[in-house]
């Protein structure tokens, strides 16, 4: 059986304004009582760009700050510092206090839990029609007829691979995969430029997950929608995304073309993640001593594998980016010498060190 191979797409993003750009984003949460001045730093200095028609995956473990980043970009959380640019416009400056309708029309979210994100009291049609009406895309009112709205509704359903007669169904009549497709259709109704998908498949049954990923890829290919795909599943990031960024303790430590990044992970944390994914093709590769070394390297590296990098000198004070391999892959890694904040270990490192016997 022969398969078509997804060609690695490299949209030419350098010459045009990115669809979404995040600059130096930081977020601290206040903890403790009313008079406490303690904070937890969830995000620090995050830079990320997503070109038009590009899918970027953000991977990391729970607690690494992926969802905080998504919530900041979606304006559900107010970032402590930094800028968010949609199509070159700084949205934090444009609408200072809350997201405007114009912003929502540009960027939509798909949430993790399709069981919680659809109101059980309404039919599918309601969710889609509401999106169309609010953003004036449905042709209702002065701008068109009910007939046009109907056509658009059915079109949306077909796009996400559902039967148009499911418009009359209630959410409880649908399977998890179908519900997530409805959520995606709801986001699409607004005709956004960017879709932010926070673990869209983790609550779904395993056998329908790939279908949702294929749908997301199709939307990108056919409609040129850019996506930020947030996941803890490296294999699905590799499958779907053009580029992958790895997050550790609220900072991005490595980023690059997905296939290249997972084949040649340069940062010890990425290596730790990649080596932990179960893969029958390389079973029995677990090595506790190597694991302990990687862990040590993440937290307190004394050497950097790129210390002979002529362009960027290693530094333990600044997060220097070293280029990895072919510049075409746009693969960079943060200098190993730059240590994460003490106590920001994350779950991967919270387990006790293995005795080196």
């Amino acid at each position: 059986m022969s398969h078509a191979v997804h060609s690695p797409t490299r949209p030419d993003v350098s010459t045009q304004t990115p669809a979404l750009e995040v600059r130096g984003l930081g977020k601290s949460f206040h903890i403790g009582g009313l008079f406490s001045s303690q904070t937890v730093r969830a995000l620090h200095g995050v830079d990320l760009t997503i070109g038009h028609g590009e899918i970027v995956a953000l991977v990391g473990e729970s607690g690494s700050g992926k969802s905080t980043l998504a919530r900041c970009v979606a304006r559900l959380e107010k970032p402590s510092e930094g800028a968010i640019l949609v199509d070159g416009v700084d949205v934090l400056k444009r609408d200072r206090f809350q997201a405007s309708r114009a912003f929502r029309a540009q960027l939509q979210m798909v949430f993790q839990d399709p069981f919680g994100s659809l109101n059980p009291a309404h039919r599918v049609e309601h969710f889609l029609r509401r999106s169309l009406t609010i953003h004036g895309k449905g042709g209702t009112g002065q701008r068109g007829s009910e007939e046009q709205t109907r056509v658009r509704l059915e079109e949306l359903m077909t796009t996400v691979g559902l039967q148009p007669d499911m418009l009359d169904s209630y959410p409880h009549e649908l399977s998890g995969g179908q519900r997530q497709r409805v959520s995606i259709a709801r986001a699409l109704a607004v005709e956004p430029n960017v879709i932010l998908a926070d673990e869209p498949t983790s609550m779904l049954d395993v056998s329908v997950r790939i279908g949702v990923l294929n749908l997301m890829r199709k939307l990108r290919d056919e409609q040129g929608i850019s996506m930020l795909y947030i996941t803890h599943d490296l294999a699905s990031a590799r499958y779907l995304a053009d580029r992958t960024a790895v997050m550790f303790a609220g900072e991005i430590v490595e980023e690059g073309e997905s296939l290249d990044l997972l084949a040649n992970p340069a940062h010890p944390y990425t290596q730790l993640l990649v080596s932990a994914v179960p893969d029958p093709a390389r079973a029995g590769s677990y090595d506790p001593i190597h694991r302990a070394q990687l862990r040590q390297a993440v937290m307190a590296s004394t050497t950097c594998a790129f210390e002979h990098d002529p362009d960027r000198r290693c530094s333990s004070e600044e997060p220097v980016r070293h280029q990895v391999g072919d510049p075409l892959n746009r693969h960079w890694v943060r200098c190993h010498l730059y240590r994460p904040r003490a106590g920001a270990g994350g779950h991967a490192l919270a387990t006790e060190p293995q005795p080196a016997d």
Binding site: H3, A4, S207, P280
Partner: protein, 317 residues
């Protein structure tokens, strides 16, 4: 036909489940959650049970432990453990059977620790209750157990909330193997954990299994993890087993379209990016027939070509 090419374990089954049928009885209608399922696990063997949520895998685990509560009812079949009929045991026998013969680690087991008792108190409890040791001796053994799963014995004095999720899960696994059971049932032991911690725990279970020699019934929906860990596995769908074989055989040559769909649901980490196909929404297999042997030790439920075509067609969309 004789099956003798299997190199692991002895041929004496530790656990033998025959034609097990479990129903959830409702007022107006009843559901058959497990439908005429048979399998056996040999000594020292890791047997995997794969399938999606709702396919009946946890119901099987609970039937083996006799933990089913109303409205669930074992309608037919037998479960025998080391020759003893589990379904006929009385309360006293069950009390000995559970934990001493068969121990179970539940899904999100780390939340099953009592938050107001220290880890040490909970672990020592096992020895005082089931083995009748003194409190001092129990604590000493509890410390050994923690060392077994590489947790500092000083943690005996910690409360569950002071440990990370991975450490709690390892403590629960240590508790499960405390009385050296001959069968350990792991029901999705790592679903709530991050991937790095998951791999460490799985490696530890493997080590413990090699050291202590128990058999494992391993339940998960993660096919890659299952193929890595188990010797033999079965794939369940809608209360029926649709395929069973050595894990490697299922990995290299899945026979049933549902198994193929499950396998296709996990993108690989190496090689070119190939479009994959999962199970399309709405494809259902009904009236799954009994298993037939397609290769030595490899059993697949016969399926009609229509179902397979539907799977392939759905994937083409």
């Amino acid at each position: 036909m004789t099956v003798s090419q299997i190199s692991f374990g002895s041929h004496e089954p530790v656990l033998d489940v025959r034609n097990l049928t479990v129903q959830y009885i409702g007022d107006t209608r009843s559901t058959t959650a497990v439908d005429n399922v048979s399998f056996s696990i040999r000594a020292g063997e890791v047997f995997g049970l794969a399938g999606e949520s709702g396919c009946g895998k946890s119901t099987i685990a609970n039937s083996i432990m006799r933990l089913l509560k109303d409205p669930a009812k074992i309608a037919a079949g037998s479960v025998s453990f080391g020759g003893k009929d589990v379904l006929a045991m009385n309360q006293d026998e069950l009390r000995r059977f559970r934990w001493q013969d068969v121990a179970m680690v539940f899904q999100s087991a780390m939340n099953s620790l009592n938050p107001v008792l220290t880890i040490g108190e909970q672990m020592a409890d096992i020895f005082t209750t089931h083995a009748g040791y003194s409190r001092k001796e129990s604590l000493r053994r509890a410390a050994q157990l923690l060392e077994l799963v590489r947790i500092d014995p000083a943690r005996l004095k910690s409360y569950p909330h002071q440990l990370s999720g991975g450490m709690r899960q390892r403590a629960v696994i240590a508790m499960a193997v405390a009385l050296k059971p001959s069968l350990l049932i792991l029901d999705e032991p790592t679903t709530a954990l991050d991937v790095v911690v998951q791999q460490e725990i799985m490696a530890q279970i493997k080590d413990l299994q090699r050291e202590l020699g128990f058999s494992v019934l391993f339940i998960t929906h993660d096919m890659s993890l299952m193929v890595e860990l188990s010797h033999r596995m079965a794939v369940m769908y809608g209360g029926r087993i649709v395929e069973t074989a050595k894990a490697h055989d299922i990995y290299t040559a899945p026979g049933h379209p549902y198994t193929q769909a499950l396998m296709g649901a996990f993108p690989p980490l190496t090689g070119p990016r190939i479009p994959l196909k999962g199970l399309p929404d709405g494809v259902k297999f009904r009236n799954i027939p009994d298993l037939a042997e397609v290769a030595p030790g490899h059993f697949v439920a016969p399926f009609d070509a229509d179902a397979e075509a539907a799977v392939l067609e759905g994937a083409a969309q």
